[in-house]
Amino acid sequence: MTTIAVSGGLGSETLGDNANRRSRKTGGYAHSAAGILLPIVVALAWEAAVRFGLANGRLVPPPSAIFATLRDLAVIGELWVHIKATVLRVAAGFAAGTLVATVFGAIAGYSTLTRRLFDPTLQGLRAVPSIAWVPLFILWFGIYEASKVTLIAVGVFFPVYLGVLGAILSVDRKIVEVGRVFRLTAVALVLRILLPSILPAYVISLRSGLGLGWMFVVAAEFMGASEGLGYLLVDGQQLGKPQQIVAAIFTFAILGKFSDWLLSRVTEPFLKWQDSFAGGR
C-alpha cells in the first residue's frame, strides 16, 4: 500500500519525510475504505434478502427501513433533539470526568504520599460495576440531568485516572535528568518534559474514556429519560419498533466513531513525533 502511494504521485518528492507522511495518508484512506466494505456488503445482502422475500425483516429491519425511520425522525426534527440531548450529556460527563480524573491522576502520580492514601480506595471503587451506582445517584441527584451526567463522568473517570497515573509513573527518569541538567524550574520541568512525555498515554486514556462515556450514556438514559438516543431505544422496544432501535444504534455508532475520530484528529499534531509500530494510525 505504501509503495503504491509513493510511486503513484510523489516520485519527484525528494524530502523523504514529506513523501512518507503523504503516503501514510493515502494509505489511511484506502484502509478506511476497506473497513467500510464489510458493513456495506452485509447491509446490501440483507436488503436484497428482504426485498426478494428470503427473509421477512420484521425483527431485523432492512437498511431501507432504518433509513426511512431516520429520515422521518429527521424531518419532524425529533432526531436532532435526541442527538443533541445525548451528545450534551456525553460532553458534560466526559468533560467533568476527564477534568477530575486528570487532576487526581496528576496529584497521585506526582506525590507518593497522596498515591498511597487515595489510590487503593479509588482502585476499590473501580471494582464496583458503575451501573451499580445508578440507584444511589438517583437518590442523591434525582432522575434528571445531574444523575445522568454523574454516571457518565464516573465511567470516564477511571480509564483517564489510570492513564494519567500510569503515564506519570512511567516517565523515564533519564529524560527527567536531561531537564535537571539544564536546570529547568519545577514549572518548566512539568511543561517541557512531563507533559509531552505523558501525552500519548493520556490521549489513549481519553479515547477509552470517551468510549465508556458513550456506553454509560445509554445506561443513564435507560434510567428514565424523555429524550436522547437511549430513550429512542427504550421507546422502540416498548412500542415494538425494531427499526427505531436499529436506527438509534446506528446513530450511536456514527457519533461514537466520529467523536473518537475528532479526538484523535485534534491531538494528532501533538503526537506526530511518535515512533509507534504502525507509524501512525
Binding site: K174, I175, V178, F182, R192, W273, Q274, D275
Partner: protein
Amino acid sequence: MASLEIKDVGKSYPNGIVALSGINLSVRPGEILAIVGGSGCGKSTLLRLLSGLDVATTGAITLDNAPVSSPHPSVGIVFQEPRLLPWLSVADNVGFGIAHLPRTEREVRVQTALKRVGLADYGRRWPRELSGGQGQRVAIARALVAQPSVLLLDEPFSALDAFTRVELQDHLLELWADTRPMMVLVTHDIEEAVALASRIVVMRPSPGHIEAEFDVTLPRPRDRLTSRFDEEKRRVLLALNDSLSQRRDATVPLLKSA
C-alpha cells in the same frame, strides 16, 4: 580558565553501597581527563557528582572555588545514551538548554553546533529518524551549544561500532580543540582513553577509589598505528592489570574491553 577540584569525595547510596571513597582529583584547565576502570567501580557515580545530579556524601567538589551541589550552567554532560526528547525535532533538542536566548541567536547557535557534529542538514528530523551514532552526536551538540567550560562524557561511544567510534572520537577532538573546555571522559575502552586523553585515571571498585593516574605525553594529533601509541596502551593495561592482580580470585572479569 575554570578549575575543578574533587577533595576527599565519598558517596554511599541509600541502600548502603559505598560507591566511592576518598577520591582526590583536580582537573586541569583545558585538559581531557579519561577515567577507566572495570564495571561497577563508581565511574558513573563520580561523573554524576561532578554534574551535580547527585550530591557527594562526604568531601567537596568545587568548580571555580564554588561548591557543586546541583547542575551548573557551565557544566555539560553527555550520557551513555543520547537521551534526546522524542517529541522535539533534532534542532529543538539541540536548542533545549538555551531556550532562554532570543530566537535568532538560538537558531544560529543550534545550526553552528549541528554543523560542528556533521549533522547540519538534520535539524528538522525527528530523533527516531537518526542512527545511534547520529543520536549521540546530537547529544554532544546539545551539550556544546550551551558553551560549557566543563564537558562530562559517560561512555559516550560505548554503544557504537568500532568505525563509528573512531570517527566520533576524532570529531570530539576537533570540537575540544575549538574552545578547549575541560573534558572528563569515562570509558571502558583503553584505546579511546589513549587516543583522547591528556591524563588517565584508573579506578578500582569496592569501594570505588583511584588506583593509578598518569599523563599521556603523546603529541597530537595521535596516530593509532604507531608503536608509541601501542606502548602507551600497554602502560595503561599494565596499570589496570596490576590493580586486577590483587583480586585474581574475582570470578567476574573486571574489565570488559581491553
